[in-house]
């Protein structure tokens, strides 16, 4: 871990040299501050309460290359399957951290769907207003990302506009023969009464270890509606650390779905900061993993103001030697009266080698609230299984069917039918069951 830290330190100097002209800009000052914070904090260890159950050491011990300079091209056919194919979408495709214009489809008409670097030059004012204003400062990995922030998606929907098609953001990492680390940075600003649906995906095509340390900031201004879905189904040697922060202003409605099936190691730090009254937040997650996979979900819903509603539902199925972590924190500040906050975390362990550590956490400083959390770890309902068997469904299929139904709840807020179908297929595939119907 120390080696990687040293490497990041020298890389940061290189990075500062490269952006020579912009090194004095206020944006870069934020990067530098973030980097200083990281240097002070270092990488989190298991002694850190938020990392109690997840050991970063094996992930950070690799000798990652921080900047990949030899640009490679990828054929559309090679990555076609990662897109939503049956529906027209805006696309932002990045290969090894560089924007690939010929694979992408962007627009600047009523809304800006372009790149982070584009924003840095063209919309400096937006950058100054929003860049690094949502992510919490005490997260080491988000700070590293901020320090190296130069490319990723930039989506701004102007007042009153609805983006007519879903936006797909895909980050591809290709094989360079070395272990690589990428740090995409996304910024989403949805202005008053605007609406957008975004799909994010990270995909490694490399046979080497890949670490993606991504960060996304979402600003949902007054009356806006945002749907954001993450499909985490990466290659078996790819690790992902995802820091996402959402700031919600009054009467906005944000849905964030995290669907984790693949990858060696996945850590999600998801923060919702509720800044205005009468907001609605939905956080959904489905985790179906096996082998030696690890998926760690850390969520925070920060109720700062009264009259907000948040609902969280995370479902997990853990097979073989997999390890799951769920830490859901709901914070209700003083004066945040009439808060409704719900949280549900259900898990099924399929083998004795799999394990789950969960910590649903409520911190409440206001009295007129309704908050609840429920957490279960258990098995399939024997009666239901028996019933299916009496109907002639073999045990294996019956079990898969029940597991499928269990996980399927997490799709309740997926509003794109094609995506729903795709996720359904992914769940079925992961559970090794052939379903010829849709729930």
């Amino acid at each position: 871990m120390e080696a990687l830290k040293d490497k990041l330190e020298s890389s940061f100097l290189v990075f500062e040299n490269e952006i020579n002209g912009a090194a004095d800009s206020p944006m870069h000052a934020r990067r530098r501050e973030a980097f200083q914070r990281f240097i002070k904090m270092g990488f989190p260890t298991k002694r850190h309460e938020e990392w109690k159950y997840t050991n970063l050491k094996p992930i950070l011990k690799h000798d990652y290359r921080v900047f990949v300079n030899d640009e490679q091209t990828v054929d559309f056919s090679a990555i076609k399957r990662y897109f939503l194919n049956d529906v027209d979408t805006y696309k932002l495709v990045f290969i090894d951290g560089y924007y690939s214009s010929w694979l992408s489809e962007t627009t600047h008409s009523d809304f800006d769907i372009c790149t982070f670097s584009n924003m840095l030059t063209k919309y400096k004012d937006v950058g100054e207003k929003y860049f690094n204003k949502a992510l919490p400062e005490d997260e080491a990995l988000a700070s590293v990302n901020t320090a190296f922030a130069k490319e990723g998606a930039f989506i701004r929907v102007k007042r009153g506009k609805t983006v007519d098609k879903p936006v797909e953001v895909i980050f591809i990492t290709t094989d360079h023969g070395v272990e690589t680390m990428t740090q995409p940075r996304n910024l989403v600003v949805v202005e008053e009464n605007a609406e957008v649906t975004i799909l994010e995906r990270h995909q490694s095509l490399s046979s080497q270890e890949v670490l993606t340390n991504t960060a996304t900031e979402i600003f949902a201004l007054k009356d806006s509606r945002v749907n954001y879905y993450k499909i985490q189904n990466d290659a078996p040697n790819a690790s992902l650390i995802d820091s996402t922060s959402v700031r919600q202003y009054s009467k906005s409605n944000v849905t964030l779905g995290t669907y984790s099936f693949g990858g060696k190691f996945t850590r999600n730090n998801l923060n919702f900061f509720l800044e205005g009254e009468h907001t609605e937040s939905h956080l959904d997650g489905i985790t179906v993993i096996d082998g030696k996979q690890t998926v760690d979900h850390h969520t925070l819903v920060d109720h700062k103001v009264p009259n907000c509603y948040s609902d969280e539902m995370y479902k997990g199925i853990y097979d073989e030697n997999s390890h799951g972590v769920f830490n859901g924190k709901v914070m209700v500040h003083p004066h945040a009266q009439k808060t409704n906050a719900f949280q549900q975390n259900n898990n099924i362990l399929l083998t004795d080698k799999s394990s789950i550590d969960t910590k649903p956490q409520l911190e409440i400083y206001a009295d007129d609230v309704q908050c609840s959390h429920g957490c279960t770890i258990g098995q399939l309902d024997e009666d239901a299984l028996f019933y299916l068997k009496t109907r002639g469904i073999p045990e294996k299929e019956a079990k898969a069917l029940l597991l499928y139904a269990f996980a399927n709840d997490g799709l309740r807020n997926v509003k794109i039918p094609v995506l729903r179908k795709k996720l359904n297929r992914l769940i079925a595939k992961k559970l090794n069951v052939n379903l010829d119907f849709e729930l």
Binding site: S355, P360, D367, H373, C375
Partner: protein, 480 residues
């Protein structure tokens, strides 16, 4: 309102004013903590060599530790060097009659429905009446002796039953368990020791009411309860009456050992001085309580926590043997500026182990209450089962209630359920009571008692009644 200083001053001053320390002065160790002090404590208590070594070992371990920072409480760190770790039992000024007792205290007694004699005993009035607690204690002690039950002070146990103490002391809570447990291991002055022989069902509630060791057990109490195979004991600690204690810091350790088929029921009512309404003063209550269950054994913790300025306390069960059962029932009430971080740990190691956690938190005023619990299912704990429910009731808009449940499962056959809710007393519920002519305060007492019923039901009868009233008193004036 008494400030912290004036409160302490008053207590310390009173000792000198009445000159009770003439013969005791020599017996007091100067404040401070070092190896010599520990040797001195051990020597004063005439302890055998192995005990002294045990203490010193604990002290050396303690030196390497730091005060835990993770509980969700904030308080000025107590100065451990300013404490005198050994002083001979203090004689309290005996009052002539109840008239001399603080009227506020008497009012509380009245509300609790404590009998006159009991009132006198609790407030330190000399008793010449029939029911003398000491004589009661002796009669009970004889009766227990017939059954082979050993119930004595820890100091006596070290002298008289060294083999049992040696075998079990520190096996459940190791010396290096945590900062305050290590401190306790090094300097504990007394506590109770209880041994129930094989197959014996203890015929009465063992409790502090009949305790043999003198009233001021000191701030570092050590309790060890051993229930041998097939035995049963119900142990009661604390009392509902407000205890005004001059010690700021209390760091007790309680160890329970339930051998095969044994059952231990441990109930606590804690009502130490919580500080005044401005949050000045009050006791720090940092307790380590843990029990170990062998095959088919059962340990049940019940606690009603209403006092202390700062509490952190996690009575735990290690369910080591097959089919063992752990239970935890808790009511924690915080008012004014009190802070409580309490909960339990259920560590399932054996097959078919079961645990139940019912925790009810009530927060009023500007207080903060936290539930912090761990349910751990080990890889060999086939068919382990846990049910947890932690509810919090908030009264007033400046209090806080928090839940930190940790659930770690490594076995697929485990069934773990956790449920938590936070809400306030329904206005419609109060309105309904008002409508039937029940005043607001009484209505709240009624609702709170209903809310805590699951836990209060676990308490021995006479205690349960007092505990109910205690809840009402603790919450007095919290609604307005």
């Amino acid at each position: 309102m008494k400030t912290e200083e004036s409160y302490l001053e008053e207590v310390t001053a009173s000792e000198y004013k009445y000159g009770f320390y003439t013969d005791i002065e020599a017996d007091k160790v100067p404040p401070g903590l070092n190896e010599d002090v520990i040797r001195l404590i051990s020597a004063k208590k005439n302890e055998p060599e192995w005990m002294t070594e045990w203490r010193l070992d604990a002290y050396r371990k303690f030196l390497k530790m730091t005060e835990p920072k993770w509980p969700n409480v904030s308080y000025p760190e107590p100065d451990l060097q300013a404490i005198s770790y050994y002083s001979a039992p203090k004689k309290k000024k005996e009052l002539e009659s109840l008239d001399e007792v603080d009227p506020e205290l008497l009012k509380t007694f009245e509300k609790l429905g404590i009998s006159l004699d009991e009132q006198k005993r609790l407030s330190g009035v000399a008793m010449d009446v029939v029911v003398d607690s000491v004589s009661v204690a002796t009669t009970f002690k004889d009766k227990l002796g017939e059954l082979g039950i050993i119930f004595c002070s820890m100091s006596d146990a070290i002298q008289e039953h060294p083999e049992l103490v040696k075998k079990y002391l520190g096996t459940v809570v190791p010396k290096s368990d945590n900062f305050y447990a290590a401190l306790n291991s090094a300097v504990f002055t007394d506590g109770s020791f209880c041994y129930i022989p094989k197959g014996v069902r203890c015929p009465m509630e063992l409790s502090t009411y009949f305790r043999i060791n003198e009233a001021g057990t000191g701030q570092f109490e050590r309790t060890l309860v051993i229930a041998d195979e097939g035995s049963y004991v119900s142990y009661l600690e604390g009392c509902t009456a407000p205890t005004r204690d001059e010690n700021q810091l209390h760091a007790a350790v309680v160890e329970l050992v339930a051998l095969d088929d044994a059952e231990i029921k441990y109930s606590t009512v804690q009502n130490w001085y919580p500080g005044n309404k401005e949050g000045k003063g009050g006791v720090y209550n940092f307790v380590t309580k843990r029990g170990i269950c062998e095959r088919n054994a059962k340990i049940s913790w019940t606690q009603v926590e209403t006092g202390s300025a700062v509490t952190w306390k996690y009575p735990s069960c290690i369910l080591k043997g097959e089919n063992s059962i752990g239970e935890f029932y808790s009511v924690a009430v915080t008012n004014n500026y009190q802070q409580a971080d309490t909960g339990t740990k259920m560590i399932h190691l054996g097959k078919n182990t079961k645990s139940t956690i019912i925790s009810k938190g009530i927060c009023a005023g500007k207080s903060n209450g936290s539930y912090r619990g761990l349910v751990k299912i080990g890889p060999r704990a086939q068919d382990a089962r846990n049910f947890s429910q932690c509810d919090s009731l908030l009264m007033g808009s400046s209090c806080g209630s928090h839940t930190f449940p940790y659930i770690e499962t490594q076995n697929k056959s485990a069934k773990v359920e956790h449920e938590a809710t936070t809400s306030k007393i329904g206005e419609d519920q109060i309105f309904y009571c008002n409508q039937r002519g029940i005043g607001e305060e009484e209505a709240i007492a009624l609702i709170v008692n209903g809310y805590c019923k699951d836990v209060l039901n676990q308490l021995p009868m006479e205690f349960a009644v007092e505990a109910q009233k205690l809840l009402a008193i603790s919450l007095e004036g919290s609604v307005g």
